[in-house]
């Protein structure tokens, strides 16, 4: 297991116009852990990621990453702590090429002057090509991201996450729009990344969660309903009642 920080959420509550998106949510992710988070629509999965990445400030509760209080930091600072995020709807820079998208994500100094004087080193190029090979985007390097298929956009965003080399990866529905083969490849990739990095995957696809084969957290109405190995969670009568049974 790699040294690194653990993610610690305790008693997080987020309210939007009276609607409790998160209700006293608590969750701990250890360094190097791969965790799947499932739950029906509106269970608060995306809001949880918004809280961790600083997009949404909780009304109450504690969110820490190592020694850092995430509720006090903005998105930029949190990203620089080593928390990377893949969005549910693949989000990238459509006017730029696949290569350029990865280049912007590459772990490197983030300042304005550094960006003005940036020269692509051989090492950086190798790293980008490595990730393009990993994500099957090698022959699309010079195509604009805007013309990629949905599955390829998913891959590009996963690739951008890999370029950032974060300690904690938050991955929101990575296999939506992917073929079975691609889904299996993604599961394999995430299993491989975990250990060196912590990974939290939000997913609807239970086959995929099964393929990950790790600890599962079930969210319901903004709090944790059940937690444990997938086999155990599937047997939990409360989970069957609100989610699997439907």
């Amino acid at each position: 297991m790699k040294k690194g920080a653990s993610l610690y959420l305790d008693g997080i509550t987020v309210t939007f116009d009276g609607f409790r998106a998160l209700n006293n949510l608590s969750l701990i992710v250890e360094p190097g852990e791969l965790r799947a988070v499932i739950g029906p629509n509106g269970a608060g999965k995306t809001t949880m990621m918004d809280v961790i990445t600083g997009k949404t400030k909780p009304d109450s509760g504690t969110a820490r990453f190592g020694d850092h209080d995430l509720t006090r930091l903005d998105e930029t600072r949190i990203a620089n702590l080593g928390i990377g995020r893949k969005f549910q709807k693949p989000t990238m820079f459509d006017a730029l090429t696949v290569f350029e998208n990865l280049e912007l994500a590459l772990k490197a100094p983030r300042g304005t002057l550094a960006a003005l004087h940036w020269r692509l080193s051989g090492e950086a190029r190798d790293r980008i090509e490595e990730v393009m090979a990993e994500t099957g985007l090698m022959d699309r390097a010079k195509d604009r991201a805007g013309i990629l298929s949905h599955g390829q956009r998913q891959w590009l965003e996963i690739g951008m996450l890999l370029m950032q080399d974060p300690e904690l990866l938050l991955v929101d529905e990575p296999v939506a729009g992917m073929t079975d083969q691609e889904t299996e490849h993604t599961a394999e990739l995430l299993r491989r990344i975990a250990g060196k990095h912590s990974v939290v995957v939000v997913e609807h696809d239970l086959e995929f969660v099964r393929a990950l084969g790790r600890k599962v957290t079930v969210l319901h109405e903004g709090s944790v309903l059940s937690e444990g190995p997938i086999e155990q969670v599937q047997e939990d009568p409360r989970v069957i009642d609100v989610y699997l049974g439907r």
């Binding site: 990377g84 969005f87 990238m92 730029l96 003005l116 940036w118 010079k142």
Partner: protein
């Protein structure tokens, strides 16, 4: 694939070279003897020189809007502030040759009963100081407005309205006599710059070439900026600002950097413009000027740099031609141009020639 982009790059460089060669012609042809059939008038040199300054302004708007997506409707204010800085220097150069013959105070101050020069006029008798102020004052204003707006994540139409209000407020302020900037008359009756009388052929040619050189330098600075990773980040911010934050970049710093750079370029354009046209008054702050400059960029093709330059020249050529016989039609034509560009030419004039493969 590299072949196509190299070709497009060469085409672009060739077009820029052509523009600059053509722009060298007016002062050269003006130097011919008056009887020569190819000689162009002083008027042509002055008007083309004015357009070069507009092209620098357009370039500055393209950098902020075309790349970073910051649609400023107040860039005319930065242009005017640069112009006022140069105007103050030109007023100080008049010395005792004013109507009232006061050795220090400009005529309007004598007329308004000033006893001594206001503190903010100090230093403007020195040309380098005035040039520095022409860059720093617009830069500082852009830094302040930009910092307040960008850190609060004010974008899009809200930012446009704020910048529009900024230029309007400055216009009202500069109309006031007690501001110490000549009120609604502004500054005029300039005598000389760097010891050269302004009404001489050599001064006209010198000012023209200075503007042309400034256009080249600002184009090179802009081109360097947009081809760097910084430029790709500006495009990224334009298209998906929050995604850039999640990559760990400080979006506010990037926007502020480009906004201040852009304002300084606009200030430089204004400083070059004033000695060429021989007057600066608060009308330069009018909100319509800023909007017109945005139309140049939209018409030429934003996010291309060269499109901004082409747009500034073509729209102003049209304006000069049209207003010579039907000035009332101009605003209708300008509005029509904007509609045509929005509906049919989203990539502007440049978009006609440059079809990016999709």
């Amino acid at each position: 694939m590299p072949g196509i982009s190299a070709f497009r790059f060469n085409l672009r460089v060739a077009l820029i070279a052509l523009i600059f060669v053509l722009l060298l012609l007016p002062p050269l042809l003006n130097a011919l003897p008056a009887s020569h059939p190819l000689r162009v008038s002083d008027f042509v040199v002055a008007v083309t020189g004015k357009w070069i300054c507009y092209a620098i302004l357009a370039l500055s708007i393209d950098l902020a809007w075309g790349y970073a997506g910051i649609l400023s409707l107040g860039h005319g204010a930065f242009f005017a502030l640069g112009g006022y800085a140069m105007g103050m220097h030109l007023m100080r150069n008049i010395g005792n040759r004013g109507v009232y013959g006061h050795p220090v105070l400009p005529d309007f101050m004598v007329f308004l009963g000033y006893k001594e020069l206001p503190w903010y006029w100090l230093g403007f008798e020195y040309f380098p100081f005035a040039m520095l102020m022409a860059l720093l004052v617009p830069g500082a204003l852009a830094g302040l407005v930009g910092w307040l707006a960008f850190r609060s994540r004010i974008t899009g139409v809200y930012l446009s309205i704020i910048t529009q209000a900024m230029t309007y407020a400055l216009m009202l302020a500069f109309f006031r006599n007690d501001m110490g900037f000549g009120g609604n008359n502004g500054f005029t009756d300039f005598k000389d710059l760097l010891g050269v009388p302004l009404n001489t052929p050599s001064a006209r040619a010198g000012l023209y070439l200075a503007a042309l050189g400034a256009l080249l330098i600002t184009l090179l600075i802009s081109a360097y900026t947009v081809q760097s990773k910084f430029g790709r980040l500006l495009i990224a911010i334009r298209d998906a600002e929050s995604r850039v934050r999640f990559l760990g970049y400080d979006v506010t710093a990037f926007k502020l950097f480009v906004f201040v750079l852009s304002a300084m370029m606009a200030g430089l354009a204004g400083a070059l413009y004033v000695p060429i046209v021989g007057i600066i008054n608060p009308g330069e702050f009018s909100p319509g000027n800023s909007i017109e400059a945005v139309v140049w960029v939209a018409f030429g093709g934003r996010g291309t740099l060269i499109g901004a330059i082409l747009g500034a020249f073509s729209v102003n050529a049209l304006k000069t031609w049209l207003t010579s016989f039907a000035p009332d039609l101009w605003l209708l034509v300008l509005g029509g141009l904007f509609i045509i560009v929005t509906l049919f030419l989203p990539r502007g004039l440049i978009g006609l020639g440059w079809r990016r493969r999709s």
